[in-house]
C-alpha cells in the first residue's frame, strides 16, 4: 500500500522530470553544444539513487552511520549530485544476503535507480552486485568488501579486509620490541583481518608469541569472556597484543584486557575496536589503545574540517565514525561521476565515469580506486585513544603505509 503510493509519486516525479529535461534540451540545444558542463548544471532532471543499508537485524547499529553520512553530503550540497536533484530511495538489507534481493530488484526494475550506494554486510554484496551488474547499474559500496568474481560495477569506499592488519604488521615488527600475541574472532572476516596482519608482520621479520606461532581465534559470536584467553599472554613473553574485534566482542575484549594480567602489555588493533559506540561503552578501559585506520577525525585538511564540522553539528558534538565518512565519500564520488556523465546520465555512463575519476579528494586525504579490484589505494594512519577535551577520542599519532591493490 505504502510502497505503491510512493512509486506512484515517483513515477509522476520521473515523468515531470523527463518533460522538464526535454523542454530544457529543446530550449538550450544550441547552448549545450558549446558547454556541456553548463547544461548539466542548468538542466536539472531529478535522479533516483538507491541506498541499501541495515535498518533492522544484526547490523542495525551500523546502518544509521551509513545513511547519515550520505544524507549529510546531500544536505550540505543542496540535495544535488552532479547538478541533478536527488530522490533518495532507501532500502533495508536487514540481516543481509537474500533479504536484500527484493529490495535491490525493486530499485533496479521499478524505481530505475541511477546507482546503488551503501551495503553494510558482505553477504549482501554477493547477493546484490550480480543483479546490479546484469542491469548495468554501479554499486558504490560503503561497508565490508568480499572477493567478487566480476567487480566491473562494484566500487568500494572502505578497504579490503586484509588492509588494516597489512598496514599495522610492518610497524609492529619494527616497534613492538619483541614477539606479538595476536587475537581474532573465528569467522571469515576475522581470518582475513588476521591474515593481513600476520603476512605483512612476518615479512617484516616479526614473530608471534602465540602457542605454535599462529594467531588465537576465539569462538564467534559465543565468546563473552576473554579472560581465559588473555591469561596466557603475560607468560608467553609477548611485548604487544594485536587484535581485530568489532561490536560487543570489541567491548568485552577491551574491558577484560584492561583488568587482566596483560593490562601492562600494549594493545594494538584494527581501528574498529574503538570506533563510535564501542569506544563510548569501553570508556576509560580503552585509554591508550593504538589502532590502524584509514581515517581519523583530527586529520588536518579543508575537506575533513568541512565534513567533521557538519557531522558534529548534526550529532550532538559526537565525532564522525569512519563508516559515515565512507558514505560521505560515496556521495562525493557519485557527485563527480554524475557531473562527468553529462546532462543525461545513464547508469552505464556513471559507471564509466567512476572508473575515470582518478584522484579523489576526501576527508581521509587523497585516494584513488584501484583499476583492478575497485578498492581504495589509500594511506593508513596510526591512532591512539586519548582524552580530547572532555571525551576519549581516536587521535592521529602518525602515518602508516599507503596500501591497496
Amino acid at each position: 500500500m505504502f510502497s505503491s503510493h510512493v512509486s506512484g509519486r515517483l513515477r509522476a516525479a520521473v515523468a515531470i522530470g523527463a518533460v522538464t529535461a526535454l523542454a530544457a534540451a529543446g530550449c538550450s540545444s544550441d547552448k549545450s553544444s558549446k558547454s556541456g558542463k553548463d547544461s548539466a548544471k542548468g538542466g536539472d532532471s531529478p535522479i533516483t539513487i538507491g541506498l541499501i543499508t541495515a535498518l533492522s537485524g544484526s547490523n542495525k547499529a551500523l546502518g544509521p552511520d551509513h545513511l547519515n553520512g550520505f544524507k549529510l553530503y546531500l544536505q550540505t550540497h543542496g540535495n544535488k549530485l552532479g547538478g541533478h536533484t536527488v530522490n533518495l530511495d532507501v532500502g533495508d538489507e536487514a540481516d543481509g544476503g537474500a533479504a536484500a534481493v527484493p529490495v535491490a530488484n525493486k530499485m533496479l526494475k521499478e524505481d530505475k535507480v541511477l546507482a546503488i550506494a551503501g551495503i553494510v554486510a558482505t553477504p549482501t554484496i554477493n547477493a546484490v552486485v550480480p543483479l546490479a551488474t546484469a542491469a548495468g547499474v554501479p554499486v558504490v559500496n560503503t561497508g565490508g568488501r568480499p572477493t567478487v568474481k566480476d567487480p566491473s560495477h562494484l566500487w568500494t569506499m572502505s578497504f579490503m579486509s586484509t588492509d588494516p592488519g597489512g598496514a599495522m604488521g610492518p610497524y609492529l615488527a619494527q616497534n613492538a620490541g619483541g614477539p606479538v600475541y595476536a587475537f581474532g574472532p573465528d569467522y571469515q572476516g576475522g581470518w582475513d583481518q588476521l591474515r593481513g596482519f600476520t603476512d605483512s608482520f612476518a615479512k617484516a621479520g616479526g614473530t608471534l608469541a602465540n602457542d605454535g606461532g599462529k594467531p588465537t581465534f576465539t569462538p564467534f559470536p559465543a565468546t563473552t569472556d576473554f579472560t581465559p584467553f588473555l591469561s596466557k599472554v603475560k607468560a608467553s613473553g609477548a611485548k604487544a597484543i594485536y587484535s581485530f574485534y568489532t561490536g560487543s566482542s570489541a567491548i568485552a575484549f577491551v574491558k577484560n584486557w584492561s583488568q587482566s594480567d596483560a593490562k601492562d602489555i600494549p594493545l594494538y588493533a584494527a581501528g574498529f575496536i574503538t570506533e563510535g559506540g564501542a569506544l563510548k561503552a569501553e570508556g576509560q578501559a580503552a585509554n591508550g589503545i593504538i589502532t590502524s585506520m584509514n581515517y581519523s577525525p583530527d586529520i588536518s585538511s579543508a575537506a575533513n574540517r568541512e565534513f567533521v564540522s557538519a557531522w558534529t553539528q548534526a550529532h550532538d558534538g559526537d565525532q564522525p565514525p569512519a563508516t559515515a565518512m565512507y558514505s560521505w565519500d560515496a556521495a562525493s564520488v557519485l557527485d563527480q561521476a554524475i557531473l562527468k556523465a553529462g546532462p543525461d546520465p545513464t547508469p552505464q555512463k556513471v559507471n564509466d565515469a567512476i572508473k575515470a575519476l582518478g584522484q579523489i579528494n576526501s576527508p581521509r586525504g587523497t585516494w584513488q580506486l584501484s583499476p583492478d579490484t575497485h578498492v581504495p589505494v589509500q594511506k593508513w594512519y596510526l591512532r591512539k585513544v586519548e582524552m580530547d577535551g572532555t571525551a576519549l577520542a581516536n587521535v592521529k599519532i602518525g602515518d602508516l603505509a599507503t596500501i591497496g591493490s
Binding site: T227, F229, S248, A278
Partner: protein, 300 residues
Amino acid sequence: MDALNAHLVPAVDGVAYGLLLFVAAAGLTLLFGIGGVLNIAHGTLFALGGYLAASVSDGSWSSAVLGLAVAVAGGTAGGAVLAAGTLPLAGRGHLPQALRTFGLALVGGDILSTVYGGDEHPVKVPGSVNGMVHFFGHVYPTYRLMFIAVAAALAVAGSVVLGRTRAGALLRATADDRAMVGAMGYAPWRVHTALCAAAGALAGLAGGLGAPIIGPGPDTADKVLMLSMVVIVLGRPGSVLGAFLAAIAVGEIETLGVSISSDWAPFLLFGMMAVALAGRTFRSSGVADGVAAAPGEAPA
C-alpha cells in the same frame, strides 16, 4: 605448581562466570520447572534489566542500588506481560507458549533497540569496585569478586525461600499437583501471574547485576537465553541445586577448560553437554529396565 599458577585466574573467573549464569538462568528454571512455561523471552527480560540499570547508574552507590531496583521493577512488569500473554494458553503444551513468548521476545527486542539504539550501552559501576584486586601475583576485576559474593548470597536466599517458606512450599506443590493447589483455594491464574512476575523480577535483577559483565546490547538477549537453556537442561528444570552445579560447571568449562585447551574452545561447552545428556539418557534407560525387570523376576 606452575600449572596451578597459570590457571588460577581462569579458575576463579569460572566461579564468577558460573554464578552469573546461575543468576541469569534462575528465572528461566523457576518458570519452566515449576510454572511449566517455556519462556523464550527470558533473555529479553535480562536485557531489559541491564538497559534499565545501566541508564540509571551514574557511578555512585546510591544510583547503582536504584538502578537494580528499577531493573527488578522493569523485569516484574515484563513478567506480568508474559503472564497475560501465556495465561490463555494454559494446558495447551509448550509449543504455543514457546511461540507466543518468542513473538513477545521479538517485539520486546525491537522496542529495546529502538529506545536504546543499536549500540552496546555503556555501563558505569561504582568507582570503589571498578578497579582490580591483586592476589598471588595476578590481578582480577574487583566487580567480579563482589559479584561472586552477591550471587552466592542470592543462591542461598533462593533455596531458603523455595525450601523453607510457605510461599516456596506452595510453589513446589504447584509443580507437583496444580489441581490440588487450586482445590486448596489458590486461583490458578494468581499462581501463574505470581510465578511469571517472580521469574521476570529474577531476570531483571540478573540483567542489572550482570550488565558490567555481559551487555547490555542488541545481542545480549540471545546470548543469555542460549546459555540459560544449557544450564537448565544440564541442571534439570526446576532444581535450584541442579542449576547451581550446572552453572558452575559450564562456567569452569568456558574459562578453565578454554585456558587448558584453547584449541578445543569452540567445542568444549556443547561437547560436554552432549556427553552429559548421553550419559543421563543411558543411566535413566538403565533404571527403567531395572524397574521393568523387577516384577518379572518375582515369580522365579
